[in-house]
């Protein structure tokens, strides 16, 4: 496979707490996504460590004026992008996201990333939404807006936590012609087709049809009134 793989995870908790972000990254390292460098500008030069994470998240301190941190991690062939924000009002552009780009992926890498959807990682870390596909396909479907403005799209692998499942309706989701859909702790994992390495010719048409069946307004910025709002202030 020549195209980079892209895994994106949106969390229903704030990742500005160094201990929480460290727990997420440690679990990802255990799964095979080790980081060697971490920084908030390119090139990432700081050596990855607990102290580096703490510094990047706390100096200067997160505040209402500076609510987000955006560290970039670098591993052997993987890049990890992080957006960690304290809770803000809905629509403020904030979100708590961790994504992984895997360059020159091998079959083993696909398995590493897909394994996040089959274990309890999402449930343990309050990941409310996740998707896995190639970077070009993710970029093709990209529509402006945060996870609190719209659903990002329909991808090879899709994780919808209970909050999304309840709003959309489990029966609606499961009635779609997924290759496979399984219930996991805290949500549903849905495969659009069998093998990411063997993209069906009609992928774009399938994506289009699934978006229509789920409700096209859900994939448009501010189009879905009941879109779950992740990690936002309730004040």
């Amino acid at each position: 496979m020549t195209e980079p793989l892209f895994l994106s995870m949106a969390f229903d908790v704030s990742l500005t707490d160094p201990a929480r972000l460290l727990a997420v990254l440690d679990d990802m390292a255990s799964a095979g996504l080790n980081l060697s460098r971490l920084d908030d500008i390119e090139p990432a030069r700081k050596v990855y460590s607990e102290a580096t994470i703490t510094d990047l998240l706390t100096i200067p301190p997160v505040s209402k004026e500076l609510p987000c941190r955006n560290p970039l991690g670098r591993g052997e062939r993987s890049h990890i992008g992080i957006r960690a924000c304290i809770p803000r009002e809905p629509g403020g552009g904030s979100a708590n996201i961790v994504d992984v780009t895997m360059n020159r992926p091998m079959k083993r890498d696909m398995s590493i990333l897909a394994a996040f959807f089959e274990g309890d990682f999402f449930a343990r870390h309050d990941a409310a939404y996740a998707c896995l596909d190639t970077w070009p396909e993710y970029a093709r479907q990209h529509v402006a807006g945060t996870i609190n403005d719209r659903l990002p799209g329909v991808f090879w692998l899709n994780w919808l936590s209970r909050r999304y499942v309840e709003e959309i309706g489990e029966d609606v989701i499961l009635s779609l012609p997924w290759f496979r859909a399984t219930r996991r702790a805290g949500g549903l994992t849905c495969w659009l087709y069998e093998d990411l390495g063997e993209v069906p010719d009609d992928r774009a048409e399938r994506v289009d049809q699934f978006e229509t069946d789920l409700g096209r307004e859900k994939f448009v910025k501010s189009g879905w009134e009941n879109l779950p709002q992740l990690a936002v202030s309730t004040e």
Binding site: E42, L66, N70, G81, G93, S94, A95, A144
Partner: protein, 176 residues
Amino acid sequence: MVQTPPSCDSWSCLANATGLTAAGKCLWASDVSDCAQAAGQALMLGLSAEGDTPDPEFDAAADEASPATPVPSQLIRGQKFEKEALAELGLSKNTNSVSGGSIPDAVESGEIWEFKDVKYQTMSTQFRNYFATGDVVNLVVNPDTVVSNPLQGAIFRSGGEILVREAPGVYDGYQG
């Protein structure tokens, strides 16, 4: 390794505390339009400001056309690109800085817009400062600009988009 005092509540404070020179502070914490003189010196020395990589072919042609100008050609070109794109997108020039000292080219409905007429754009201190605001960050580039993958990802995570100015008034999504 630079030691950073925990008492600082902004990146400008860090720049001062770490004893950077005027030009260094400019490169570290601000953008080209904030400190044209210092950035200009850096560009004339062959350095780039905040991750921008100027286009040498354009620079050579512009320098030939106006050899006496004290302003680097990249600045002139960047300002022209910004001015035209702002007008085409119906945005107004912003003059207020965000924490860290960087000044977004435009701020509209709580979203930051930055215009870059460069060869290559990375996640620079300027963009780091923008993303820290928590606001959506959008980037407008020319058709030849390469946007680094980490910056593309950071823009998408913020909820923003990257537009390519294919021709005057013609914009398309960045395809990498």
